[in-house]
């Protein structure tokens, strides 16, 4: 590369095409735009839900009406017109029921194949079961029967509501009540699908489970709900991925994830979020990713670990958290959040220590390029009851270029004197000296930047399941390509 070319690429933000920006042409069935009690009833009826679900939804809806939209994040955006959103949009069923592979619309199969998520239970994917969610509904879940042989339930939320109403009744809203926040209330009122996982006692889930979320319709709101229950001495690794087409308008994604771990249970939950980030130059379009994720370590010695790689979305607002109720329980949060161009992210975690000897670890890596904003917001709370609680927090920010910003907003609230908390934070700029050093070894500018950034994220990548670690690394390089200036 000549020096002139070099200057050209590093000073110009070349809009790297978002590779997942295509739309699927398929006949959809939609509820009219807007939100009302009728829409809530429509969704519930559409899903043939039992009465208790409709009541849950209506209570949530009525509560939501009284709430105001939270605007305390660092992100700035125009007001959202909640009546200009489709709350239900599903591929028209060809016949009978979706769910079995043979019944999945070939167009949808092709869509997921294009996204690298084959819905066929092929040999080479033997390690991972997938629940594929397209707009408002789950279109297919692989390996369902095989998992069930070991008592593991992995199905769409809608199916779980009819088949396992008792478990749903017991746990729905137990970690994230509909009163929790504005978007959690909205989700509770109108959520249309999601994934449900139940791991029975003494069972190590025989394969990794995953959900893949795809938004297809313009002006849709995707409201999915995931519930994972791990009984005593069981464990599961769960992976989540997301993409959406490119539209000039913003789509709302307001999900709720609830995890429950009983005695000695372990849940590892990993997310690679690659929603459409909006136009690189104008910032038009992109997903508003307003998500509430929380896990409850209810049992003794239980463990919940969140790992997230956030590279997409116009705005990210999420704080995967752990409530450490059981004695000796462990909560972990490992995060890499990348913002480039005009993206805005306000993300972090809450660790709430209630049980004795509870431990939590927070490692957050924020990378900001272009004119993006990247905030880490975290809270560590140690209740009176939490004797010998320990927390280790490390937040590192990396800036690429001089027009972006990084903000760290940690809060600590300790009510028990035996607690031990450590906090480390750093902000670094990708140095010209580092780039020059790597380039002087024959490594290209983009590879040099990718190497520095992935080195910066190494402690988090180490926590990802193998199949995700490679993807995360590639995604990061793509997202930051040509961002040195």
């Amino acid at each position: 590369m000549s020096n002139q070319d070099h200057d050209k690429t590093i000073h110009e933000f070349i809009a790297k095409d978002y590779e997942f920006g295509f739309t699927t042409n398929i006949e959809m069935e939609q509820a009219p735009k807007g939100l009302s009690e009728d829409i809530v009833r429509f969704i519930s009826a559409k899903k043939e839900e039992p009465e208790f679900m409709l009541e849950f939804r209506l209570k949530a809806y009525r509560h939501w009406l009284k709430m105001t939209e939270p605007r305390w994040s660092v992100a700035t955006y125009p007001d959202i017109d909640f009546n200009n959103v489709y709350y239900y949009s599903a591929p028209k069923k060809k016949e009978a029921k979706l769910g079995s592979m043979d019944e999945v619309d070939p167009e949808l199969k092709r869509t997921f194949e294009k996204l690298g998520i084959p819905l066929l239970e092929q040999k080479r994917l033997a390690g991972v079961a997938v629940d594929a969610i397209f707009d408002s509904v789950s279109v297919a879940t692989t390996y369902k029967d095989k998992l069930l042989e070991q008592g593991v339930v992995f199905c769409s939320f809608s199916e779980a509501v009819t088949k396992y109403p008792d478990i749903i009744k017991q746990y729905l809203g137990s970690v994230v009540p509909y009163t929790d926040n504005f978007y959690a209330a909205l989700n509770a009122a109108v959520f249309s699908d999601g994934s449900f996982v139940y791991i029975p006692k003494d069972t190590i889930c025989p394969m990794d489970l995953s959900s893949y979320f795809r938004i297809n319709t313009e002006e849709i709101g995707q409201f999915e709900r995931t519930l994972i229950v791990c009984e005593e001495r069981s464990s599961v690794t769960y992976l989540e991925g997301c993409t959406a087409p490119m539209f000039d308008t913003n789509q709302l994604h307001a999900a709720v994830v609830e995890l429950i771990a009983l005695d000695d249970a372990t849940i590892n939950y990993s997310t690679v979020q690659n929603w459409y980030p909006g136009d690189p130059k104008t910032g038009k379009g992109g997903i508003y990713n307003f998500v509430t994720k929380r896990g409850k370590c209810q049992g003794k010695r239980s463990k919940i670990s969140w790992t997230q790689i956030e590279t997409g979305s116009a705005i990210t607002w999420k704080y995967p958290s752990c409530i450490l109720v059981g004695d000796d329980s462990i909560g972990e949060f490992y995060s890499v959040a990348v913002t480039n161009h005009r993206q805005q992210a306000d993300t972090g975690t809450k660790m709430i220590h209630i049980g004795k000897n509870t431990r939590s670890t927070i490692i957050s890596k924020g990378i900001s390029a272009g004119v993006a904003t990247n905030a880490y917001r975290g809270a560590v709370k140690v209740n009176k009851s939490a004797r010998n609680a320990r927390n280790y927090t490390q937040c590192d920010s990396m800036l690429i270029g001089d027009k972006c910003s990084a903000i760290t907003l940690p809060t600590v609230d300790v009510r028990n004197a035996t607690a031990q908390l450590e906090h480390e934070a750093s902000t670094s700029k990708v140095g010209e000296d580092q780039l020059f050093y790597l380039m002087s070894r024959g490594i290209s500018l983009d590879d040099a930047l990718g190497t520095i950034v992935s080195g910066f994220c190494q402690d988090v990548f180490d926590k990802l399941p193998d199949e995700f670690a490679v993807e995360a690394n590639q995604l990061l390089s793509l997202q930051l390509e040509h961002s040195v200036g």
Binding site: N3, H6, F436, Y437, M439, S440, T451, G455, D459
Partner: protein, 249 residues
């Protein structure tokens, strides 16, 4: 191998002039040493040769193997066979040393139209090179220069030199911060890497290094220019009489 003609260069940010008409010719297989006081521009010269964008060439020419490299970025210059051992090697946290070395090595192979090597093949190759520079295998698993002592960093530079097998290696004050034993080891490694097709440019304050790596030509650099050139005896003379002696010639 290298031909520098009337090179003028300044700091890009504020136009401070550093090199003021420097000429230098290095033939294949030759070892040249540039000595000079602080601020003479000798480290700057090494960075400019490697393509550091903090400096701009305002006049003159740099020919490498007969071709101008002024339009090439640092990557391209390295791929063409130019190597700079840094005076202050940069720490890059989280980047595995062995993986970095393989990445650089593969970039070179690819550039030369050769097949890239997998980690297992590379490991054998790397072990040989480690032995050559008398480095422990534990260096492979450490993060690139991160937390290395000054001496370890310098050894790691020579390791990279051994791995990349450049046509021209510039050693920017490789001797600074080394104790006598480390200096002897590093020099021995460099001497092993000397060959007919490979040239070296040593940049140093002290004659000491040149007792171990004996140069063919020694240059005295003062005020951004080469003011005197000679054989290895010149280095001894400079050590004895100081730079005022040549500056006033």
């Amino acid at each position: 191998m290298l031909e520098i003609k009337n090179l003028h260069a300044s700091i890009a940010e504020d136009d401070t002039s550093i090199l003021k008409g420097l000429d230098l010719v290095i033939q294949p297989g030759e070892v040249h040493a540039i000595m000079g006081p602080n601020g003479s521009g000798k480290s700057t010269l090494s960075k400019i040769l490697a393509g550091d964008q903090q400096y701009q060439v305002t006049d003159g020419e740099i020919l490498f193997n007969g071709e101008s490299i002024l339009d090439d970025d640092a990557t391209e210059r390295s791929l063409k066979g130019l190597f700079l051992a840094f005076q202050y090697p940069v720490e890059i946290p989280g980047v595995n040393n062995a993986q970095f070395l393989r990445m650089a090595y593969n970039a070179k192979l690819k550039y030369n139209g050769e097949e890239e090597v997998d980690p297992i093949e590379f490991d054998d190759f790397l072990n040989e090179k480690l032995a050559l520079v008398d480095m422990n295998e534990s260096f492979k698993d450490r993060a690139l220069n991160f937390g290395f002592s000054g001496g370890e960093k310098k050894r790691n530079e020579i390791l990279q030199l051994a791995v990349l097998e450049p046509k021209l290696a510039i050693l920017d004050e490789t001797d600074s911060g080394l104790d006598v034993d480390a200096l002897r080891d590093v020099s021995a490694a460099v001497n092993k890497l000397r060959s007919e097709g490979r040239s070296f440019l040593l940049i140093t304050h002290y004659q000491r290094l040149l007792d171990y790596i004996v140069p063919d030509v020694v240059h005295a650099m003062v005020g951004g220019e080469i003011v005197k050139s000679g054989d290895k005896e010149l280095a001894k003379e400079l050590d004895k009489q100081g730079y005022d002696w040549v500056a006033n010639v």
